[in-house]
């Protein structure tokens, strides 16, 4: 069951939903890209439907509501601690199929990896429902079909496809039906969200990556090509690493806050240990760690692939390093190592 409606009608739907929900969606930030007069598509809280970027693939992933790049967890002063205030209103997060598939990976790490559940993640996770943005075509660098994350049968409350100026929505959660049916001129119709069935980029991941791959020469070129900026991690919908900052306010050293900020296994400092040691000094070694974590180590522990094939790492790499190409290189090298 679904609806076809005009953009104006969709704006009404969003306006009515905003009375109950906070909505996070990809937004085109004019001029916010790396270079002059280049836009960036970044997740943000929206106030109206026209802010939502439904066409372009976002540069940064939908995880930013769940795992903000920087979040104050609590404040402390002498013997007291106060958790940061939290907006408990329900939240809708827009995302493409790859983004929705990434949720399972985020949940895995924050909620299902050991005994403790991360309370700061959970308090956000409990608030959200997803809205699916359909993919009318595959974008540059996408390889979701290879990663089996190109389709979602469920996991969203309604879908949004912008086709020839009309919004096509499939309603999965009936409680959202009234927001659509209330719009005058909305046409009730069976709607199937658009999914990509083929990408230009295809990867093949070895069922088991042989241990010997860590000694392969294939990593060496990244020691000089990679600039260890960490963009691949920051845009990745499945990267979950963070670090802590305990900050003491400069006006009064007895008061401060603890912040959680995003971390990257490519950036300096990630493997620093007491005494000045650093496990992975070379960028090639960091690349090896990242790639094998994504396509082998995570799977060994949890039984399924971590990478969802969104290709955002390839989209953003300033040095034109292709993660999908590395996967295929690993695949080829794995066969050699075996034989």
């Amino acid at each position: 069951m679904g609806y076809v409606l005009t953009k104006a009608g969709f704006a009404e739907v969003i306006a009515s939903l905003l009375e109950e929900y906070r909505i996070f969606a990809p937004v085109r930030k004019v001029g916010a890209g790396r270079f002059t007069d280049v836009d960036a598509v970044i997740y943000d809280e929206i106030r109206s439907a026209d802010e939502i970027e439904l066409e372009a693939k976002s540069d940064y992933a939908s995880k930013e509501f769940l795992t903000p790049l920087s979040e104050t967890l609590f404040y402390f002063t002498e013997n007291e601690v106060k958790e940061s205030d939290f907006d408990g209103r329900p939240v809708l997060v827009f995302g493409r199929s790859c983004d929705l598939h990434s949720l399972k990976r985020l949940d895995q790490i924050y909620l299902e990896n050991g005994l403790a559940k991360d309370p700061f993640y959970k308090r956000r996770r409990d608030l959200i429902k997803c809205v699916l943005i359909g993919c009318g075509h595959s974008y540059d660098n996408c390889f979701c079909v290879s990663m089996d994350s190109n389709k979602c049968e469920d996991g969203y409350v309604f879908s949004v496809d912008l086709i020839d100026g009309k919004i096509h929505s499939n309603i999965l959660d009936e409680s959202f039906d009234k927001a659509f049916s209330a719009v005058s001129g909305s046409e009730k119709k069976d709607v199937i969200p658009r999914f990509v069935t083929e990408n230009d980029v295809k990867v093949e991941i070895p069922e088991e990556v042989p241990q010997g791959i860590i000694k392969s020469e294939l990593w060496d070129e990244y020691t000089t090509r990679c600039i260890n900026c960490g963009r691949c991690n920051f845009v990745c919908p499945t990267c979950t690493c963070y670090t802590m900052q305990d900050v003491f306010y400069s006006d009064n050293g007895r008061v401060g806050e603890r912040r959680r900020v995003g971390a990257s296994c490519m950036v300096d400092g990630y493997t620093d240990v007491a005494g000045g040691g650093q496990y992975r000094r070379k960028n090639g070694e960091r690349m090896r760690f990242k790639v094998l974590h994504k396509i082998s180590d995570f799977k060994k522990r949890f039984g399924y692939q971590m990478c969802v094939g969104c290709g955002r790492c390839d989209d953003i790499c300033p040095e034109y390093i292709s993660f999908s190409n590395i996967i295929n290189k690993v695949n080829a090298a794995s066969k050699e190592v075996k034989s």
Binding site: A32, D59, S70, C229, V267
Partner: protein, 328 residues
């Protein structure tokens, strides 16, 4: 055939060079902003092959000179360059007669934001706007645009140097303290950034608005300001007497003010140029040396309203070599 009888002053003003080879000249093509369409470039090639020696000189100021043209062919070449003049939209009072003046030199621009990752604005577009603002004019004025503080266009050798700036905008909620901006600002720029309590603090007095922090930020915590800003530097020059680099005049200037100030300069030149100057040509800098900077400033600021961020250097002291005073 009649003997050559050439008004050399008019010839030069018409953008033809006085050549050391008797009977020959070179046609000087203006390319404001340094961008010429491929078709016009083809036209240059045709003229060089038909009237010249098949050779093309690329000039220091991003122009073209077609050498080896007979002085007898000047009118024909003027007819042939018309398409180039039209396509580059050069102001011209009368079509078919070639360039109306050559005093105000070709306006230079580095590739800028159309191509360069560090360019803070569209240098070519601003250069073309400037060209339309001041050309044709016989006064000897040099203007150059560069996209960022790297100054690849070497604007500090011009009378007016325009250096692109951006005012970095910081969203602390997107900052993870990776340190890339601090590191690159220190290594590639002036070291205006510092990590304090896990967030970045920008020394606004030190910051030159180069945008390196924005280019290297992996999370879009640093972005560019919506407004394009400029550092205007004044009165650099080469030459025999007192070659010197341009000095800083206004930091965080705006486009409109710069256009107006350059325009105002021509009125100042008319008022104060040495009437006995050789070939009626005198660098503005030497005129300012005579009248004092305060007087020049008064003329510059006529009708100009600078933006709220503009920082004006009220006193400027130029350096350089003084061969005319102290010898070399």
């Amino acid at each position: 055939m009649a003997n050559l009888d050439i008004n050399v002053g008019k010839l030069k003003k018409n953008a033809f060079r006085y050549s050391k080879v008797r009977g020959e000249t070179a046609s000087r093509i203006r390319i404001p902003g340094g961008v010429i369409d491929a078709k016009s470039m083809g036209r240059v090639v045709e003229i060089a092959e038909k009237y010249g020696t098949g050779v093309i000189n690329i000039t220091n100021r991003q122009g073209i000179e077609i050498p080896g043209i007979s002085l007898r062919d000047v009118d024909k070449v003027n007819a042939e360059v018309q398409e180039i003049i039209d396509s580059l939209r050069i102001n011209q009072p009368e079509k078919g007669k070639g360039y109306p003046s050559s005093g105000t030199r070709n306006v230079i621009a580095c590739p800028g934001a159309r191509l360069c990752p560090f360019g803070c604005y569209d240098t070519t577009a601003f250069a073309q706007k400037m060209e339309n603002n001041i050309y044709p004019n016989d006064r000897h004025v040099k203007i150059a645009f560069t996209g960022c503080s790297n100054d690849c266009a070497k604007v500090r050798m011009a009378d007016f140097g325009i250096i692109g700036m951006t005012e970095p905008q910081y969203d602390k909620d997107r900052c993870v303290a990776c340190g890339a901006c601090v590191n690159y600002c220190k290594r590639r720029s002036v070291g205006a950034l510092e990590l304090v309590n896990g967030k970045v603090v920008r020394d606004t007095a030190k910051c030159i608005g180069c945008g390196v922090c924005v280019a290297y930020c992996p999370t879009r915590a640093w972005t560019r300001s919506r407004e394009h800003y400029f550092r205007l530097v004044l009165l650099g020059r080469t030459g025999k007497k007192n070659p010197r680099l341009a000095e800083d005049f206004i930091k965080w200037a705006d486009e409109e003010s710069i256009l107006k100030m350059v325009k105002n300069t021509y009125a100042y030149i008319e008022e104060y140029i040495d009437p006995d100057a050789v070939e009626h040509k005198e660098h503005i800098g030497y005129i300012v040396d005579r009248t004092g900077f305060e007087e020049f400033k008064k003329w510059l600021f006529e009708g100009v309203e600078l933006g709220p961020k503009a920082e004006v250097n009220q006193r400027i002291y130029w350096g350089g070599k003084n061969y005319d005073k102290y010898g070399g």
